[in-house]
Subunit: 440 residues, 2 copies
């Protein structure tokens, strides 16, 4: 691994890290990409894994396969424990790794805003293991409801709360509502399906904050048509695993609370804390260089490029990460060759969210449309963005099949739900063992 | 659940239990089916899940969906802790369940023949969680090999041993050999692929014991063409997790040992031990009634119907379980109505095994054929037997795609490998919790 060429180490195989590494193909640099998983995750479809619509393997792609034949690249499954920027060095679970340029593309994780009790009891959905754990939990709660000893215990098991009315929250609420409508009534004939309630809780007055007024209203209407109860301008005060209390005093008894109310950057240990801004993101300049260092960059969700046009940075979506990764490849190569670097400018292709069958909302610049055509647009864009032909094909087959059968294929409790405390314990145990990997 | 009709409780949603319950549709009985998973597993393809060829969800099928609309049936996810035959009662993790007729269709599990050290260190492959755990282990060992500190440590990680030369062992060895040939050389360009060794160890002088001489020889030839080292007439003496020792003193250093050398029945606690014969199976008469009881039956792998024609009982394959389940439905109904019952006679449709791409062996009565046509026959029969149209479709798409791309889709470490001791610990913990389920 010592070629004498400048060595670029990328931490994270998400949209940004992958794009950057691909653009460095056949360039006179040595590339090392690190990820704690051996696969890339297509995060926009995680909610379909959690709600039984897709198999986990369909939205994940082996990182090694992405870089097949890329001779200047090394991939390692590992976790970074610490950066030592003064020595241009990473400490990882597989030993020390030095770098000339470090790119932090670690993405984001659920933000519980310091509320430990909520963090312990609400379900995140930011990774494939988390989505599968949630799928198991939902199905186990339905099974448990059948044998609940009291009506109160049954109600708790059949109330599903989604916190956060962004695209993930809206899509998840819609998917659970469709599960209820099309699948549960057949699967659980003993169950009074009317007892299944889905709540969507959003802090601001509207769902889908950054989208057009039209899309906001329409998505709310779509969700209500599907029977979702929406609380806007509502904040979660506490959740103890059974009782969720809102700031205004209203309560919901629910065993399942899905948390999509916010994210925070995954920052590496060892970095100067003054480089970190709100949302645990790294403050970067317009070339994505982290402010405190000369040779450390951050792209995607973990980067905060604050400027007059983007006072809060860019939205945490795949196109930002991809475009930043692409430009950073050019900029690092230019910097190595002593050429001028260029500034990042986000090209916003629009945004969209799907609520359910034939129900989606799309904003492209000034054009807004909703309904069936929006839904097909949503499916087409997501299919095209999925990595790998096999994945495209399998997801397409699943969607077509679901469309005509009104069914979901994968409502299986393959690995039962594990509590967070147990996942953390196992992670710690296995991290120190020879297999070098954690559980989640 | 108290209809006054005779209540038939079936423990196990495998091939036998499912077939029996289906045949009781619209009959004047109450049917309860219990399984610790909420899905039926298509066991013949587990090895493809373990070796990255198929997604787990494609070979599993929700049990609730199988019985959609079957009004006289109740399904529960639970584990039976004990039978109390004197009181016609089961103790389960969800409480007591009474029966008029009990059918034990619990199948089989890996048999380590009392060798605790081997049991602790070798990998079984009899359930979906086990197959996924094995997939993670294989992939983690490849990752670890890249950073192995010494050539000896590397060799241990790259030696794969399969113990048992029945269909599962032959198919697994072939699948790993093809993984090496078509996938690893692209995925791990840093690795000297010649260092990956696959061993198949069989106690008797021939592979595929019950098949024709021609199939035995041809499958051995196919495996050797794929680079598998075969040791016949070889018995494993010990395996400590790194060093495997054969009875004749030969040794193999290997971190991965897959155990397909034998199975034993999964017998419920509380049954008279004198009803159990070799292989931990329940001795049944020709109507599948367990010898010691009047209203307890066993079908499939857990049943031993010993007679002059079948001194060792029937082979542990799906067709036996299905045919027994089908006949038992008739026999129980006849018994209830006071009509005569009939004796089981196995209709052997033949047997087959696949070694790899274009390489399979098929015996149908006196007809034996091998190679490409056998391979297509194998695929066709397995596709047709898979439960559910979506599963057929997704498996078909995966196979066609693999055929043309020489690739495997799902080599992802979705949930990293867990040691058996940890799985048992978690199982015990969660079994006693409200979610009523274990980890494996």
């Amino acid at each position: 691994m010592n070629s004498g060429k400048p060595k670029i180490v990328i931490v994270g195989g998400g949209f940004g890290g992958i794009e950057l590494a691909k653009k460095l193909r056949k360039k006179a640099v040595e590339v090392v990409i690190l990820d704690k998983h051996n696969y890339h995750t297509f995060q926009p479809l995680l909610y379909q894994v959690a709600t039984g619509g897709l198999e986990a393997d369909s939205i994940a792609f082996p990182i090694r396969k992405i870089f097949k034949g890329q001779k200047n690249l090394t991939f390692r499954v590992t976790e970074v424990q610490k950066v030592i920027p003064q020595e241009n060095k990473l400490l990882t679970t597989i030993g020390e790794i030095t770098y000339d340029y470090l790119v932090i593309a670690t993405g984001s994780t659920s933000n519980f805003f310091g509320q430990d009790e909520i963090q312990e009891n609400a379900m995140p959905m930011k990774s494939i293991p988390e989505a599968l754990n949630l799928r198991s939990l939902i199905l186990q709660h339905l099974e448990a409801a059948l044998i609940a000893p009291t009506p109160a215990a049954e109600a708790e098991l059949l109330n599903f709360v989604i916190v956060g009315g962004g695209p993930t929250g809206v899509e998840t609420a819609g998917a659970i509502a469709e599960l209820k409508k099309h699948v549960l009534k057949n699967d659980y004939p003993e169950l009074d399906i009317q007892k299944v309630n889905i709540y969507l809780i959003e802090g601001s007055p509207e769902l889908l904050g950054p989208m057009s007024k039209q899309s906001q209203e329409k998505s709310q209407k779509f969700l209500e048509e599907l029977g979702v109860t929406i609380y806007t301008s509502a904040r979660v005060q506490s959740y103890d695993g059974s009782l969720l209390t809102l700031a205004d005093g209203r309560t919901i008894h629910a065993k399942t609370v899905i948390w999509s109310a916010g994210v925070k950057g995954v920052v590496l240990n060892g970095l100067d804390p003054t480089c970190t801004v709100r949302g645990n993101r790294l403050k970067v300049d317009k070339t994505n260089k982290v402010d405190c260092y000369d040779n450390v960059y951050a792209i995607g969700d973990v980067a905060a490029m604050l400027s007059d046009e983007t006072p809060n940075g860019h939205p945490g979506v795949a196109p930002v990460a991809i475009q930043q990764g692409k430009l950073l490849a050019e900029n690092i190569l230019n910097k190595i060759e002593g050429k001028p670097t260029s500034h990042f400018k986000y090209f916003d292709k629009g945004s969209m969210a799907t609520v359910g069958r034939n129900r989606a909302v799309v904003d492209i610049n000034k054009i807004h449309f909703q309904g069936v055509f929006a839904w097909f647009t949503w499916m087409f864009v997501h299919l095209m963005t999925l990595v790998g032909f096999r994945n495209k094909l399998v997801v397409f087959v699943n969607w077509v099949w679901s469309y005509f059968s009104y069914d979901r294929g994968t409502r299986l409790i393959i690995r039962p739900f594990l509590k967070k405390a147990d996942i953390i314990k196992l992670n710690d145990k296995y991290r120190s063992s020879e297999t070098q990997e954690g559980v989640s």
